[in-house]
Amino acid sequence: MALSGMRGLSVFISDVRNCQNKEQERLRVDKELGNIRTRFKNEKGLSPYEKKKYVWKMLYIYMLGYDVDFGHMEAVSLISAPKYPEKQVGYIVTSSLLNENHDFLRLAINTVRNDIIGRNETFQCLALTMVGNIGGRDFSESLAPDVQKLLISSSCRPLVRKKAALCLLRLFRKNPDVVNVDGWADRMAQLLDERDLGVLTSSMSLLVSLVSNNHEAYWSCLPKCVKTLERLARNQDIPQEYTYYGIPSPWLQVKTMRALQYFPTIEDPNTRRSLFEVLQRILMGTDVVKNVNKNNASHAVLFEALALVMHLDAEKEMMSQCVALLGKFIAVREPNIRYLGLENMTRMLLVTDVQDIIKRHQAQIITSLKDPDISIRRRALDLLYGMCDVTNAKDIVEELLQYLSTAEFAMREELSLKAAILAEKFAPDLSWYVDVILQLIDKAGDFVSDDIWFRVVQFVTNNEDLQPYAAAKARDYLDKPAIHETMVKVSAYLLGEFGHLLARRPGCSPKELFSILHEKLPTVSLSTIPILLSTYAKILMHTQPPDPELQNQIWGIFNKYESCIDAEIQQRAVEYFVLSRKGAALVDILAEMPKFPERQSALIKKAEDTEVDTAEQSAIKLRAQQQTSSALVVTDQHPANGTPPSTQLGLVKMPSMSSNVDQSLAEQGLSHENGTLSIVDPQPPSADLLGDLLAPLAIEGPPSSDVQSQQNIVSGLEDVPNAVEATAIVPVGEQTNSVQPIGNIAERFHALCLKDSGILYEDPHIQIGIKGEWRAHQGRLVLFLGNKNTSPLVSVQAIILPPSHLKMELSLVPETIPPRAQVQCPLEVMNLRPSRDVAVLDFSYKFGNNMVNVKLRLPAVLNKFLQPIPVSAEEFFPQWRSLSGPPLKLQEVVRGVRPMPLVDMANLFNSLRLMVCPGLDPNPNNLVASTTFYSESTQPMLCLVRIETDPADRTQLRMTVASGDPTLTFELKEFVKEQLVSIPTVASYAPMPAPPVPQPTTPAAAAAALTDPGAMLAGLL
């Protein structure tokens, strides 16, 4: 079929097709792009036909995967062409090239609106289609009422109305507020009486979206949906063209049943009865036929009916009918049906009372785990995971383990996580659980996350009965020739803690344990060595009486690692070396780890989190969240050695580090003590649930948990005379006060309000620079975090506390800033409303043992969303007069102004992006400025400011601010006032007696507030 008239395009497409290779193609495309670019440049000579041809070429090139970064304007401009052929091309190319966030679209809103409200039906269709496909929020707000009018208009033909329905659906998705529920619910119900099935299909899609958001308002639509379904299912009065392979519009049937699933119940018994009749007919009357399309269509309806039955909580009889159907489906040859059978069976699990019937199909489901199609295997895995309980856990988990060895890489991680969770949730006994996890690590070590082996260690630690068993198992795995590193980790840990329980077994003497573990050391990475070192220390401690040969061997290793480049390894080596020479005291110091406090499984939590992420509002999923979990809980019945575990953990973990501000003197001394000993958990306590495993050792004090005596013991070890002296050496205040900001934070902030880049904060360790770009109501700030030290800054955290009128999004801030490095963190800002509130950056980092926390105001202030605009006298005065008085125009006499020459004030205004318009005000002592304000919620707003100064008294002036929005007027007035009054440099060179300032924020008060971040924050918010 020839292309109607566009020879140039056909020739170009042929050329591209004839290219021998990618390189030739690129050359041909580049040549064409160059040609189009030059033709667009001198647009005058371009006929509408040529323009059309070129934008088609652009779309073709774009489709081939090349960047087309020009010519968008030409495509958009075709929309406003008067003739249909050009307009059509403009609309379709625009909606293919641009996405809803593109700026150019905004330019077209008016043209599009004119087409929608105009009389030309074909233009209406084009405009509605484009808005329906790529319309964004801007379109929602300006077009929704017009589109609604078209949808319910009696004079519009169906072809316009069905497009209007889907266009409205798009606008509603972009901004649900544009559909006014009160007025619209009745209209919606009327729409469902529509005879034209095209309009009805579109309207039904709209209804699905509306009820998913708010079903309450649309109750009146429910019986109409049931009626529609009856009409379709009984094939009453459906035009031939709306049947698809003999089935009355399967799509409309599916949509209608989807809408019904958003209503929680059906109360009216008659409606309920008729609906169940229809559903029953669908369930029973769907047969497998030869024609693929007919089969698909009828099963699309059937599966939707199944979902609706599940949702309605039908009687048990109907439910078991459904399960029987699904059981049939999962065994058929047709892969689509098998897939959907498994998927829907998984959904069915959430219905009570059918689990037992589903379990009958377990064998078939396990077969599907070996299906050649990964999509089907995934469904089978999900279903097995969902149907697992105490009765079948052993079988299912063993199947999963078996499958693990043959599964493709894409599935192994999910598979091992699921097996681990099931083993934990439904373990009939704990030794089985340990077996499963060790097998998992053995078979798929690369896919077993740390969480999984941490968890098994927790179980073993907290269950004494399990300890010898787990240690023996771990020992067995070590005999295998090549074992995964994770297995080395878990075995080392378990044998270090519990290896001594095996002492009497063959091959399990301390010496043998040590040598088999030590064999693995050359094969492991840096992260495993610290665990091995801890294990060696523990083995040494358990060897009573000491074995000099073993001792020398292990000491040799500690010695070797004392100069290791990895700080963690080096630290452990040094400490263990010193500690292990303490003789009998060693037994106390290196005692067994205490029990872990009860906590939710990190694995289950992880699985739940991912579920919440993907959860939709659908009724089925809501129910899923109410399912009870019978997960085992780590028990903690016997406090170890009679000492409360929390104290011991406290000693090691130093919870004090996170908040050094409100620490008591004694605690500070203690944490310092630990600090010099360097038995420090590098993680902040909250960062990792399982962090305690990484702590090298439990340092146990003697049974009495007296803080003072513990300090003495510990400091005795370190040859520090005593704890009292230790605290005396370090001035108590140093930890909190050691980090002083360089420069005045408030001054830096005020300077940044007037310019776009500069330093926000600086102290001896870090410098935070900032750079901003502002465009209309949006902005992008980049934070430059520079580490000034030769050691890394850790636990870096930046939290943005935005005021309600700003939408702010900070990209990821790395937890560690390497020495002398600078990291950049972009921060996106969007202004929603006029407001003077200021965003705060809550920034903290740790240097050595010091936690530094500062709260900094961010210069995303009102004037950043201003755009200076010059106005002439002809524009100014009518505006000024039309905004006649409060609340749009506000006047105030401001006192206590920092005295400055009028020129300086004009400069200040200009740097605030208020453009001073000289000559507008005849009085030379006055000043007039204008600007536009941008926010997401309003159109750009013109703002006018007039200042009348008094040459006799420069500390006072009269200010008048006007704009089209009362809030904006007020906020802008207050903002300008603040700038005139409390400029921080005021004290430095204006030697005037402090004037009585009526402002709540005098510089002094501000300065006082700055020393206390909390107060400062309170003041700001």
Binding site: M1, L3, S4, G5, I13, R17, Y49, L59, M63, L64, G65, D67, Y84, P85, Q88, V89, I92, N99, N101, T122, L128, G132, N133, I134, L159, K162, K163, L169, R170, L197, G198, T201, S202, S205, P239, E241, Y242, Y244, S249, P250, W251, L252, V254, N293, N296, A297, A300, E304, P335, N336, R338, Y339, L340, P372, D373, S375, I376, T614, E616, K621
Partner: protein
Amino acid sequence: MIHFVLLISRQGKVRLTKWYSPYTQKERTKVLRELSGVILTRGPKLCNFVEWRGYKVVYKRYASLYFCMCIDEEDNELEILEIIHHYVEILDRYFGSVCELDLIFNFHKAYYILDELLIAGELQESSKKTVARLIAAQDSLVEAAKEQRSSISNIIAQATK
């Protein structure tokens, strides 16, 4: 909701893309690369659904062309599969036994027809007859404009301008 529609040839050449959810240029390229990798390598006797990044892609191969539509996880897959077939039948009727070459040289027609079928990622019209009628009407509008332009009076008007 359908998030996007792709037509990809067996060699991985893109024949049509339509995006109903906002994707940037970069994301579009990435989606195309990823999905052609997944779909083109699937064997012939497997099911028509692929799970991908929390979405589902329903696809079907017709001769050398793969028609793909990406939907939400809980959407009805078979319904979408038949929308694809519905689209193919309409193309077939319009071109008269459609082949890949038709869609290459008349890719704009494929776009027009798709716009009569789907809006906002939802089915707009399920009657093949109605779609065919509307497309024919569009074609004649374009023809009429062309004739008008080429009429002599128009040429004279152009010349004297």
